[in-house]
Symmetry: C2
Amino acid sequence: MRIHIVKIGGNLINKENLLHSSLKYFCKLRGYKILIHGGGRKADEISNKMGIQKNIVQGRRITDKETLDLVVMTYAGILNKNIVALLQYYKCNALGLCGADGNCVQSFIRKETNIDYGYVGDIDIKGENINAFLIKFLLRNHITPVFCSITHNGLGQLLNTNADTIASNIAISLANECKVELHFCFEKKGVLRDIKDNESYFHEINFHLFKKMKKNHIIKDGMIPKLENAFFALQNGVSKVSIGLPENLNNVNNKTILCL
Amino acid sequence: MRIHIVKIGGNLINKENLLHSSLKYFCKLRGYKILIHGGGRKADEISNKMGIQKNIVQGRRITDKETLDLVVMTYAGILNKNIVALLQYYKCNALGLCGADGNCVQSFIRKETNIDYGYVGDIDIKGENINAFLIKFLLRNHITPVFCSITHNGLGQLLNTNADTIASNIAISLANECKVELHFCFEKKGVLRDIKDNESYFHEINFHLFKKMKKNHIIKDGMIPKLENAFFALQNGVSKVSIGLPENLNNVNNKTILCL
C-alpha cells in the first residue's frame, strides 16, 4: 500500500484561487491519499470580526478558551467542510476529520514551562497516538481523509495542534506497513536560499546540511519546525519527504527533496 | 440490524449541562446508533459577536453567504466537534460528519418561490440522496456517526438544512434493510396539549389526530414540520418514531409515540 500524504498551508489556504488549484493537483495524485490543512489567516479574519484579541507571548499565539473556539470553528468548520465539498465536486470521495473523530489523533495539553500556551495539544512521539487502523480502513474503502489541525485529549477537550506535526505523525503511524510519501505544499518552489528569490530553492537538503544551516541562521523562523517535522518523519520510516508547490506534487523535480 | 437514530435540538444544545446529560443517555443506547444535532441558539450567540444581522422573512431565517459561513462554523465546527470529543470521552466511538463528508447527505438549493431563502438545502424525497452504504459501513465497524445540519449540493456548495429533515431522511434510507427507530429529543416530555404544562403530553398521536389538531391549531409553529418529518418517516418504512426527553430514550413510556 503506497500512500501520499499532502499538507497544504499558508497562502494556499488564504487565497481562494490557490486553494482551488491546490485541491485539483491533489486530486490528480493516483492511489491512496490523505490531505492535511492548516488554517492560514482565516482565523485572524474571523477573530477581527468577533473582536477577539490575539494573545502573543514570545512570538507564539496563546490558545485561551475563546481562541480555541475560534480555531475549532475556522479549521474544523468553515475550512475543512468547504475543502471537502470542493473535493467531492472534483470527484474525490473526501471525508473531513479532526483528531476527535474516530479518535484519529490524540494529544496532550502542552506541559507548562515558563509559558502557558493554553489549549495547545502536542502529540506523543512516533505516531503512537494516531488511529492508523481507522485511517487505513477509510483509505481501503476509497475514502480520502481530510484532516484539520484540531486534536483532542480523550477527556472531552479539543486542542489546537500544529498541522505539520499532525502530518508527520500520521505519516509515521502508517509507515510501518505502507510506503508513505509526505509532501509539504506551500506557495514557494521549495526551501529557499534567498527568501526573495523563488528560484533559489534547494534541490536537496540532507540532515547534516539542515543542522549546519540552522546553526548559521540560513534557515530560520517557521521553516525550522517544518524541517524538523520533515526529518523526524524520515528518521521514523517515511520513504520520502518533499517541500514545494502543489503543481509539482506529481513531479520529481522542481522542489526540495529531504534526505537523511 | 437495528438502528437507533436520535435527533437532539433546542435547549439540549443551548445549555451545557443538558447537552452533557443528553449525550450520556445517548451513549446508554445499546447497539447501532446515529446522532443528529441541530444548532440551538449557538449561531445567534456567535453572530451577535460578529455583528452579522439576522435576516428574517415571513418568520424564516434567510441564509445569505455570511450566514452560511456562520452556521457552517457553528454547526460543523464548534458544536459537532465538541459533541464528538465528549462522546469519545464517554467511550462512544463517534465520528462527526456534515453532508459533504463521504457524500453522506446531498441536497439541492431550495427552489425560489416568492422568497429566496439563499443557501438552504432541501433533500430529495425518501432518502435517495443519502449515502446509506457508507453510514451502514461505519456502523458495522463500531463507529457512531454524528451529523450536523449542513449538507452539500455535489457542486462544491455547502447548504444549511433542517436537522429534523436530515434525521427523517437518514432513517428512511436505512429502513429498507434495517429496523430503524427514530427519536426526536428536546427539553419537553413530548408533544404537549398545553405548552405551559409539561405533564400534558400526548402518549400517542396518530396521523388522523395530527391532521385534525393541525387544522384546529392545537399543534402549531415548529411542532408542525417536526411532526410532518416524523410521519413522513413512518410512512416510508421507519419502525418507530418518538418525541420526548433524552432520559426517556430507553423507556417505552413517558414520551409521545407516533403511529400511522
